[in-house]
Chain length 89, copies 7
């Protein structure tokens, strides 16, 4: 079974919701650990680097959650996936 274990995302978001509510909303989508750093800030927006770690991350849910909070996912800068199934293709 293949699982996404880590995502490194580059996100642009408005000031609201704040970074704490934003991180919390992403962590709520699974048993995730979310580490957020603010890279740049201007009058209306913040550029964030967000690292999400978990046993099995549902990327589509993360993408929707980002979008619903009025933020936009600029790029996926890193991915870690693991295939730990005993039987391979």
């Amino acid at each position: 079974m293949i699982r996404v274990k880590r995502l490194l995302l580059d996100i642009l978001k408005p000031h609201h919701p704040n970074v704490i509510d934003f991180s919390t909303a992403l962590a709520e989508k699974g048993n995730y650990q979310v580490r957020l750093s603010v890279l740049e800030m201007d009058d209306k927006t913040e550029t964030l680097q967000v690292e999400i770690e978990g046993e099995s991350i549902d990327y589509e849910q993360i993408r929707e959650a980002i979008s619903e909070m009025g933020a936009s996912l600029h790029s996926i800068d890193g991915v870690e996936v693991e295939n730990s199934a005993a039987d391979t293709d």
Copy 2:
């Protein structure tokens, strides 16, 4: 259950209270560990980087405590949240 485990704050404060009393006041809000570094200092103010770690940090209490001491929270530069509940959304 989602918990804030770490905050990295950029704070501007007047010289009084001093950094020891300031750190202590923040740690008092919970079983927190507070690490404070003075980044810049001028005649009237100090720019601080304050890292707060704890099992579950109450951000609103921290924000109020900063404000009550005459300091202003410039930005939240980092957040770590963890969702360790067994049942997810």
Copy 3:
């Protein structure tokens, strides 16, 4: 027996499939762990550094999988092989 334990690949790929599907497709070829970083991005393509680790990596399968997804393998930047057989040549 000689096994390839690690590959570090420099890959150019179109935006589709996205990096998550791309990583997943590579991990599917064996019990691999895949770490992908996006180094550059322009209108049509992304330059990737992809690190693959596993007990025994089948390079030909990896090469075909990259090719089938419309991406091109620029170079193999690193290799680790291990000879753990008791009897040597």
Copy 4:
């Protein structure tokens, strides 16, 4: 209970007492570990970075000790405090 666990101090001192006697005098104030580095030295003074670690550091005692040795505390560059009490405010 809130305890100061670490202080990072920027100190200007005359050449006498020397850095060994100076460190020793600070360590005497409690069961402290004192690490001192000389950052600059000129004809009459030395600029020191002094790190003090302990289970519970008494800042006022440290400040007095510095002053009694003819040195001046330029700034507190770092503080670590810990609240390890079970019952919080």
Copy 5:
């Protein structure tokens, strides 16, 4: 008994055999672990840094293997040898 435990080699090789076959051929000479990095690449050749680790590396065999694959050993940039015999000279 004195054993060579590690070699760091600077090698120039043609594009064929590729770095995977090249690494494998070196590892085959003993129970070696081979880590290869491509430092430069031009139209006809690749400059490699090759690190070989093993319990007891036979340098002459390595040198011949490199030569048989049409590559040339530019320099030995590092060596580790260990004398673990109980009786010394």
Copy 6:
């Protein structure tokens, strides 16, 4: 009881005694570990960084030993002292 655990010394010495005899002479003053690096060398002298570690370093003995070998102690660049006594002042 307060003990000096580490000294970092900047020393200028003539070429004789050589750095091995010099280090040995310092280590002889106690159960010390001495790490010496040569920072600069000219026709007649060598600038050394000497780190001494021990359970309880006698600075005066070290200073005399340096002097007796015709070298001069330029500065004490670092000190670590520890107060591990149960009863404090």
Copy 7:
């Protein structure tokens, strides 16, 4: 008893013997571990950094061995000595 545990040597040697034979010859003088790096190479000579570690290194033997191989010891860049005797001076 005072023992030399580590030497860091700057050596100029002709191309022959090669670095493997050179390292081996030094390791033979005791139960030493020898790590050699080639820092510079020109037509006739190689500048080496050689690190020797052992329980008790005999510097005079090392010096002679270097000399017998036609190389010259430019400088001793580092020394570690340890005094682990129970009774001190």
